[in-house]
């Protein structure tokens, strides 16, 4: 019952052993479900999460994201491998971990029969937050998500967006050092999604490490400092969004519309060292090139030198979706993209 009291063991010792301040370490975690058939939901995954970052776990449904989150949040035991949070092992010290994490699971776990205030109050008490602190913090949290005027209303009367926001601040009631958000914006309208993003950024600014899973690329790109791609239980790639995109062999994609293609333009374009490939398609030139924005003036110069009028120009960086397709050979949003649907039904 002492849960959150800082014991001396926390303060000294263990933490000092993390020179690079990795708040989560995952080593060779595997999770196998033995039901009617054997499903490897998480397959030999290792990575670390740094203190204070927003870390994204990306992948299609059934990639093993939620299972990994459940292992980290002590709801499931790994079949093999180890994971530690703040130097506490998930299987040996689950109680220590539970006092340090906040979790917003994929499916709503709010008690619909209780008011917004009572939901927060209930979790605050389970987290051993003392009465005085709780009394001060609950109105703050409700104000943070614009639910102050609905404090005493039953959650069953709330919209999906309101429930989600309430659940996110509920996970934060005990000021955890790590916040796990499993698909925080699934099923929300664009307005609500933006508000949830605002909350996530806001909580991160208060030095909370945030782990979020999503299969929305824009969300990952907007919020996350680093991203891990998962597919069929395996970790495919891990880096910052920029580096992931930079790792694409094609780099940026430049599209130039034309009426008539003069001879000599293709060789001229291919002569640029940063150009990877040039393709003609439907009155358009598709140029893949590294550092596309700095190359574009030179390409336009080539066109005017050879007397080819340019009808349109567009340049775009590869999206994370492009990266994912490149890495796995399949689209992220595809249902059944992975054969391994994990038993919990979600991702």
């Amino acid at each position: 019952m002492t849960g959150r009291d800082p014991d001396p063991e926390d303060q000294a010792g263990e933490k000092g052993k993390n020179p690079d301040d990795d708040i989560i370490r995952i080593e060779k975690i595997t999770k196998v479900f033995q039901n009617a058939r054997t499903v490897v939901a998480v397959d030999d995954v290792s990575f670390t999460v740094r203190r204070g970052e927003i870390f994204g776990l990306l992948g299609p449904n059934g990639a093993g994201k939620s299972t990994l989150i459940r292992i980290l949040t002590t709801l499931m035991k790994p079949t093999s491998g180890t994971a530690s949070i703040e130097s506490y092992d998930v299987t040996r010290d689950p109680e220590k971990i539970r006092a340090r994490i906040g979790v917003c699971p994929q499916n709503s776990t709010l008690d619909l029969e209780l008011s917004a205030y009572d939901n927060l109050d209930f979790y605050g008490r389970l987290q051993n937050v003392d009465d005085a602190t709780l009394e001060a913090r609950i109105p703050d949290l409700l104000a943070m998500v614009d639910l102050s005027d609905r404090a005493e209303a039953r959650v069953s009367t709330f919209s999906g967006g309101m429930r989600r926001k309430l659940e996110i601040v509920r996970a934060f009631i005990h000021r955890p050092s790590i916040l796990f958000l499993d698909e925080p914006t699934i099923g929300l309208d664009p307005e609500s999604r933006r508000e949830v993003w605002k909350q996530i950024t806001h909580l991160n600014a208060e030095e909370t490490t945030i782990i979020l899973t999503t299969h929305y690329m824009d969300e990952a790109e907007k919020l996350c400092h680093r991203l891990a791609f998962m597919d069929q239980g395996r970790l495919i790639s891990l880096d910052t969004p920029e580096n992931l995109k930079r790792a694409m062999p094609g780099g940026d994609l430049i599209e130039i519309g034309f009426d008539e293609l003069k001879e000599g333009i293709l060789p001229a374009l291919q002569a640029h060292p940063s150009v990877v490939s040039v393709e003609v398609k439907d009155q358009k030139l598709l140029i893949s090139a590294h550092a596309g924005s700095s190359l574009l003036p030179q390409i336009l110069a080539d066109f005017s030198r050879l007397g080819t009028p340019v009808r349109s120009v567009s340049i775009r960086s590869p999206s994370l979706e492009d990266v994912f397709i490149y890495l796995t050979g399949k689209k992220l949003g595809d249902p059944g993209v992975s054969g391994a649907l994990s038993p919990e039904g979600g991702s």
């Binding site: 002590t74 994490i101 709503s108 776990t109 709010l110 619909l112 209930f122 987290q127």
Partner: protein
């Protein structure tokens, strides 16, 4: 309309067939009803503990006493074991004490032969159902059998107890069980079904806290229900509680019963993840425990193979304790065993509930 009805029908049947547990319980329930109802109620009552004593001043056993004792010991309905389990007492005061503390259901006092024609006195625990009548008719038949001229003087030591009063006490226990079924356990299962558990399993809350908290809230509700029926009993059945001490004792028994039964139900629910399975199981337990508790019919009439259940049945102890206080005006000396049994049962159920509760999602 037909197509829609068929769609609903097909869906429900698919669910029914795909859940073997519920299917089994659904089909087994009527059979269990038949077996348990049939055996626990209306069974042949034999072996009624009866005391026999000869009146003071005692010189030597009278012929009437000897013939009577012999006839009572051997008295039986055709094809059944002896109706009475006879114990001989040398002192009427000891027999009275044994009756007052529930060790005897009645005792017969045969007159000394100083004055002929003095009545044979019969003292009966009148708080039980059918047993007083059986004793009375049995003793009367024996007197006819031994051709005694003496009149039979019957003393119902707890006055006339109506069946409503006898049964009403049992209903208090049933109210507690029914409330627990709706209250205590279902909350845990609803949380699990709705996925709310996943929310609080990631907090540092302990298994024991979850179980004790659930038992606590269930106990309060069960206690209130039990108390309500107790109050109704006083008004409608006209039972009387003699004094504040007895009243306090009733409340204590209600509380201990509520804790015991709630703990049992919560312990059972700690593993279920489906309301239907849980409700079927609890309905089964409810039947089994209530029928063998003695609430309807004297436990003495339950056949041996079924009566072992009464030994581990908290409702049996609860019914016995409540009847002792309410109908017989007995005190802690008589119901002490019941309270100890209820306490042991509660502790066992709480421990079972905590041990079987899953702290993870697996």
């Amino acid at each position: 309309m037909i197509r829609g009805a068929l769609a609903i029908f097909r869906r429900d049947m698919k669910k029914f067939i795909s859940n073997p547990f519920v299917m089994f319980i659904t089909l087994a329930m009527p059979i269990m009803y038949l077996i348990i109802f049939g055996n626990a109620i209306g069974g042949t009552i034999t072996g009624i503990p009866l005391g026999v004593v000869q009146e003071e001043p005692y010189t030597s056993p009278t012929p009437l006493y000897e013939a009577g004792l012999d006839a009572l010991t051997g008295f039986h309905q055709p094809g059944n074991p002896a109706l009475f389990a006879v114990t001989v007492y040398s002192d009427e005061n000891i027999a009275r004490e044994a009756l007052a503390t529930g060790r005897l259901m009645g005792y017969v006092v045969f007159p000394s032969d100083l004055v002929p024609g003095r009545p044979v006195r019969l003292y009966v625990d009148s708080s039980e159902y059918t047993i007083p009548a059986l004793i009375q008719s049995g003793v009367a038949a024996v007197l006819v059998q031994v051709q005694a001229e003496n009149p039979l003087f019957v003393n119902n030591i707890y006055g006339t107890v109506e069946y409503l009063q006898f049964f009403g006490v049992g209903v208090i226990v049933m109210a507690i069980f029914m409330t627990t079924m709706m209250g205590g356990g279902i909350a845990l299962i609803r949380d699990r079904e709705l996925g709310i558990t996943e929310g609080y399993l990631v907090t540092p809350v302990k298994r024991s806290s979850i179980i004790l908290g659930t038992i606590g809230s269930g106990t309060v509700r069960a206690f209130l229900a039990g108390f309500l029926i107790f109050a109704v009993n006083i008004i409608i059945a006209g039972v009387l509680v003699k004094g504040a001490a007895s009243f306090a004792l009733v409340l204590l028994v209600l509380l201990m019963t509520s804790i015991g039964v709630t703990s049992l139900v919560v312990a059972l629910s700690s593993r279920f993840s489906n309301q239907q399975e849980y409700a079927s199981t609890i309905a089964f337990f409810n039947l089994l425990l209530f029928m063998t508790s003695g609430a309807f019919y004297p436990v003495i009439g339950i056949p041996g193979w079924l009566s072992w259940i009464t030994v581990i049945n908290p409702e049996y102890y609860a019914v016995h304790a409540l009847r002792s206080i309410i109908l017989r005006g007995q005190g802690i000396n008589v119901i002490g065993t019941d309270l100890i049994a209820l306490a042991i049962f509660s502790l066992g159920a709480i421990a079972l509930g905590i041990m079987t509760y899953r702290r993870t999602l697996e």
